[in-house]
Amino acid sequence: MKPVARGAACPAVPVSNETVTLSHGEGGRAMRRLIRDQIAAKLGRGNVQLHSDAACLGRITKEIAITTDSYVVSPLFFPGGDIGSLAVHGTVNDLAMAGATPCYLTLSLILEEGLPLATLGRVIDSVAEAASNCDVKIVAGDTKVVPKGAADGIFINTTGVGVHSTGQRMTASRIQPGDALLVSGPIARHGLAVLAARESLGFDPPPESDSAPLHRIAAELLETLGDDLRTMRDATRGGIAAVMHEWAEESANAMWIDESQLPLLPESRGVCELLGLDPLLVANEGTFVAAIAPHRVDDALSVMRSHSRCGQPAQIGHARARELSPVLVSRGLGADQPLDEPIAAMLPRIC
């Protein structure tokens, strides 16, 4: 194969040296080299245990938490993040929201034939940087290659293992009527960033994702509030609305939200209005909701404010005894309105 591509057939993927091929997934030399040079080298020594079936974590004396998520975001790179950092933050955040300290990640890649190795490299660099920022070690990995058209560039699964420092279980069943509902920052940023990038919606500035790790702020909140912190949840797919519905179901209370209190960046507001989207339904990746005892609102907000990532934390509502609707929204006019769960895919609309 010529080292330099000529002709116009496929300028993006000129030579096999520079793209992922099915051979990279066949268990042979190409795969060993890919893993060694493109993945293990970037993740740093002592991380992935390459040639054994399973990694040994030794003895862990505390209670163990585990969570898993697959990341399938398209496009792979978007303002404010990429699939690599997202795959670390998302799983770190799931542990953090459960009150656990994230310790270890596994990293499993599904690569589409034809993926430029440079793209893979950027993603792995981003994984490595995010993992190091989050103080988590990547202990085991896997790489599969599927034929062109059988995946969308890269899919990543990360499974996270963390430990509970305290015995406290943060389940939504602990939410009581009167508890305050707080959000850690401006909402709807991730979903809009990805939508605008994927559909080339041409906004200026392009909406930026809030993707960020939450383990430090979660730990500090837990330490500060103790039992007064009922539960936390990162408001990912389905946005705030999905979390509110889950909490209503799990706690058998109603969640009440004051629409006027929702923190929303002006650019997010503009995009939501223009595309007809409700920010309550749009995904976040570094913004969470916390339910806390009502007398601790100021303490909680001040912890949130002290973490620079969290501009504009706010109380957005409170839990109530359930009457009929599980989730209610005040829109500033007459009676509260019920808020339905997200139903269909979030799409720009004109109606």
């Binding site: 009929l324 006019l333 720009p348």
Partner: protein, 368 residues
């Protein structure tokens, strides 16, 4: 946001609600014609607030809902063609045809691209010279200029692989149809504000004269809607059948002449089959013959379905003509839901059935 927030103000809305309640001496029946209005009326609870004083009937206000099954089937067939990409507003993709929606067609391998503006479909055609791009051109007069512009741009660019399914509908003939139903109860209309931004409101003069009902041009925010309702009941209480413009910041008497010229250049008025209503005389637009090569119905005529079956259980026509409320449809919330709609009004975020399903408390509670 300027010119949005002021018209969502809760205090102003409360004042208007009170004023309406004071003014009403007997229950009045008003019809809103635009689904965007239906949506706001239910979303902000205005309908419940005025229960017993103003009954709001939701007209055939959602072009998504009235697009004929045949055209959906046609779009589905186009999407399933090799090398054909159907471009559509997000609103249309879940609307059921005879067998499939566009979204289901995509899940069977059909090609579908959601666009924010018809002009984006032009860029799509330029990027995919080997594919045929077909834009599903639905919408009232509000949307018609944007698709006319797309046709003009494609023509000037000499694009051979761009066409549209002309499915635009016109509001006034539908209002006429409503008034001619024997069971009609409508006493006054909230005319669709953004349609009027294009058409103006002088077009309603003969309608008002003929049917002797007040027509109030109304916007979409809660304050706008309440202003419109207040004006309508004021006229009704006074026994006046006239046109009033309560959306004066965005509507001129004669509308937008540039937009009208754009429509006129590309389209001509034609009869059109409205889903649930049958053929409405002058109820839509067709492409002028000089743009025949941009008309997917001519270009891909062989894929046009002979005639689609009628929706069997869906009472969408009764809902849209004000005969029944969505909740009176036996399928509502049972076999018909936004996740699994039997009819178009349950799909579109503007559809009356979807609006009730989402925002009506009784409905929401019933399904917990």
């Amino acid at each position: 946001m300027k010119y949005l927030d002021e018209f969502r103000d809760g205090r102003a809305s409360q004042s208007l609600l009170e004023k309406i309640r004071q003014r009403v001496t007997r229950p009045w029946v008003l019809m809103d014609v635009c689904g965007g209005q239906t949506h706001s009326l239910v979303r902000y609870g205005i309908e419940r607030e005025l229960a017993g004083q103003v009954e709001l009937i939701h007209g055939p206000g959602c072009p998504v809902c009235v697009t004929s099954t045949e055209l959906i089937d046609f779009a589905v067939a186009l999407a399933m063609q090799p090398d054909t990409i159907v471009a559509s507003f997000g609103d249309m993709i879940r609307v059921p045809g005879s067998d499939q929606s566009l979204m289901q067609a995509r899940s069977c391998g059909g090609r579908l691209k959601i666009v924010y503006t018809p002009i984006d479909a032009i860029a799509l055609a330029q990027r995919n010279p080997d594919s045929q791009i077909v834009f599903l051109a639905v919408g009232f007069e509000t949307t018609t200029p944007s698709t006319a512009l797309a046709v003009l741009q494609a023509t000037q660019l000499g694009l051979q692989n761009f066409s549209i399914v002309p499915a635009h509908v016109r509001v006034l003939p539908a209002m006429e149809t409503i008034m001619q139903l024997p069971e009609n109860r409508v006493e006054g209309f909230l005319a669709a504000g953004h349609v009027c931004s294009i058409t103006g409101y002088d077009v309603y003069e003969s309608f008002v004269a003929k049917h002797r009902v007040p027509v109030v041009v109304t916007g979409f925010e809660p304050v706008d809607l309440l202003e419109g309702i207040l004006q309508a009941v004021t006229l009704l209480e006074a026994g006046k059948a006239v046109i009033e413009n309560r959306y004066s910041r965005n509507v001129q008497r004669h509308g937008n002449p540039n937009a009208q010229a754009l429509i006129d250049r590309v389209y001509e008025i034609d009869d059109r089959d409205w889903r649930g209503f049958g053929t409405i005389s002058g109820g839509g637009y067709r492409l002028r013959d000089e743009y025949a090569q941009m008309d997917a119905c001519r270009k891909f005529a062989r894929l046009l379905p002979p005639s689609a079956r009628k929706d069997s259980e869906c009472r969408g026509a009764d809902v849209m003509s004000g005969k029944i409320k969505p909740k009176q449809c036996p399928a509502f919330g049972k076999t018909c839901s936004p996740e699994s709609p039997l009819g178009a009004p349950m799909v579109s975020s503007e559809g009356a059935c979807a609006a009730y399903y989402r925002f009506d408390p009784i409905t929401i509670e019933a399904r917990q």
